[in-house]
């Protein structure tokens, strides 16, 4: 009986949580013009997907999102894990002070950086380029924090014996630290990818011509241009949501680990 009640309540809650997305997909699969009829689609069609992807440029937006999110996530994870090695395992001038300076910026709401970042990007001539969309976000402080905490636990003896064998510091980082810290490096990569995939405000400001739009920006512009095209808009939303959902479902463990670690230590 208790078990039945449990299944009943979690199932009900799961339906409520998943409903918007199921409904979005169903609407996206409906024939155009039937979106406003409150019923299940009579015939499933990929018409809307074809139309937004190939006529309204969403295949291009999708590609842009992928380029921006993949390169940002890769490079910022790389930078963070390089710096984390030094902070976790080396002693150097002003170490504590620098670490504190980096971490303190986590307290500052992102909106504060937007204006000056925009001015800098403008000055560099990077408006409407991938550079402008990617480079300002390559210093990921939260990632640095997570990876540093993890690398501190690697025993020093491991590094010492590698040094005795004549390994360079870079080789130690790449061959020992990164593989050992892989779970947290993967977490940071995923969190970064997710952040950049849905980073709306910054891309809205920097991407100014249609061929540079990312999916959320394309969706915002689409919204103002085609107010009544429900089925098309839901198809466009699905294009944005499906890849990140799949990524999440396959790598769920890393997402959850990262959040738990961050909150427990932070």
């Amino acid at each position: 009986m208790k078990k039945f009640l449990w299944y009943f309540s979690v199932t009900l809650l799961a339906i409520i949580f998943m409903f918007p997305f199921v409904w979005m997909l169903l609407t996206a699969l409906k024939e155009p013009g039937t979106a406003l009829v409150l019923s299940l689609p009579k015939k499933l069609t990929l018409y809307n997907f074809k139309k937004v992807l190939f006529e309204f440029g969403f295949s291009r937006f999708f590609l842009n999102s992928l380029i921006v999110a993949l390169s940002s996530a890769t490079v910022s994870t790389l930078f963070a894990s390089l710096a984390a090695f030094a902070f976790a395992k080396k002693s150097f001038f002003m170490k504590e002070y620098l670490f504190w300076l980096f971490i303190a910026s986590m307290m500052v709401p992102g909106l504060l950086y937007v204006i000056p970042q925009f001015l800098i990007v403008y000055k560099l001539g990077w408006i409407n380029t991938y550079w402008g969309m990617i480079v300002p976000h390559l210093a990921n402080v939260f990632g640095l924090f997570l990876i540093t905490q993890f690398m501190r636990q690697v025993p020093d003896s491991l590094l010492e014996s590698a040094r005795i064998d004549g390994a360079s510091e870079f080789k130690i980082w790449w061959r020992i630290m990164v593989p050992l810290a892989f779970p947290i490096v993967a977490t940071v990569f995923l969190l970064n990818f997710q952040f950049h995939w849905s980073n709306f405000l910054w891309q809205l400001i920097v991407a100014q011509s249609e061929e540079m739009y990312t999916v959320p920006v394309g969706l915002a512009m689409f919204k103002s241009a085609h107010e009544e095209a429900y089925t098309l808009e839901m198809a466009a939303s699905s294009v944005s949501i499906v890849p990140i959902s799949l990524l999440f479902i396959f790598a769920q463990r890393y997402f959850i680990e990262g959040i738990t670690q961050g909150a427990v230590k932070g």
Binding site: W6, K90, L111, L138, S198
Partner: protein, 300 residues
Amino acid sequence: MKKGVRDNINAYSFILPFAFIYMVFLFLPFIYSIYLSFNQVTDFSDVFGGLSFVGLKNYLFLFRDKEFWWALVVTLYYALIIIPLNIVVSLLLAILLRKRYRLNSMYRTFFFLPFVLDAFVVGIVWTFIYAGRYGLLVNILKPLIGGIYETGFLGNAKTVMPSVALAMTLKGAGFGMILYIAALDGIPKEVYEAAELDGATGLKKLWYITLPLIQPVTTFMVIIGIIGALSAFAEFYAMTGGGPIVYKWGTPLGMTKVTGLYLFNHFSNLRLGLAAATSFVLLVLALGLSITYSKIQRKR
């Protein structure tokens, strides 16, 4: 000495890429926006050079601006709905998922998945659910809601804020759930056993044992809730655009024109000095409220 210098160079070469980006795109902007907040853009063709120093004028403008005060009021209203709602739903999910029945991890995926999705896109989906006339909810609830049938839940000044808060709670509660599950797992079984010996039952255990022990997570949730409300932007941009208009304080004001939208408005009209001053006031508010809240918690 020589070895020390070499070690330092070596260590710094690992930090360099990160530190360089940090200095140029985070530290410099922070300092620059302090400077910007005391200036006004006078020459739009040269947003860097075309500045004139105006002292505290931007801050004084904010202090006297009805719209800014209104933005603070509606943001507070939003925070007062979403923070408690989010905590209650997250905790409920966490308590439910502590029972390790079969399919437990599948349900956890369902609850957590919306959190990783984009607030703007989720907002768009909800605008269709909340829409008037053709929207899904108004048709289901038609006999109960009167005039909302025509305006939709986002077009009515009374329902708009709770509706946004509900949509964003359903999107974000999975995050709190994960934190609460971790915290609940950290409570030793003996604590409950001891309480049971003293005759404590379900709800009493929750109120007197569980809640105090998971207080750090709740504090954390309140703090990120405050910061989240003060910087909420994409969800309101997607769902309401600041509307519907209400007449208060003698002027038309946007019922959901929260601080994030207010700031964006200055920004998109190139009032950059004002926008920077707004960001600083919001930063000070976020820090002040967070510190005050955690101090009050610690005293208890």
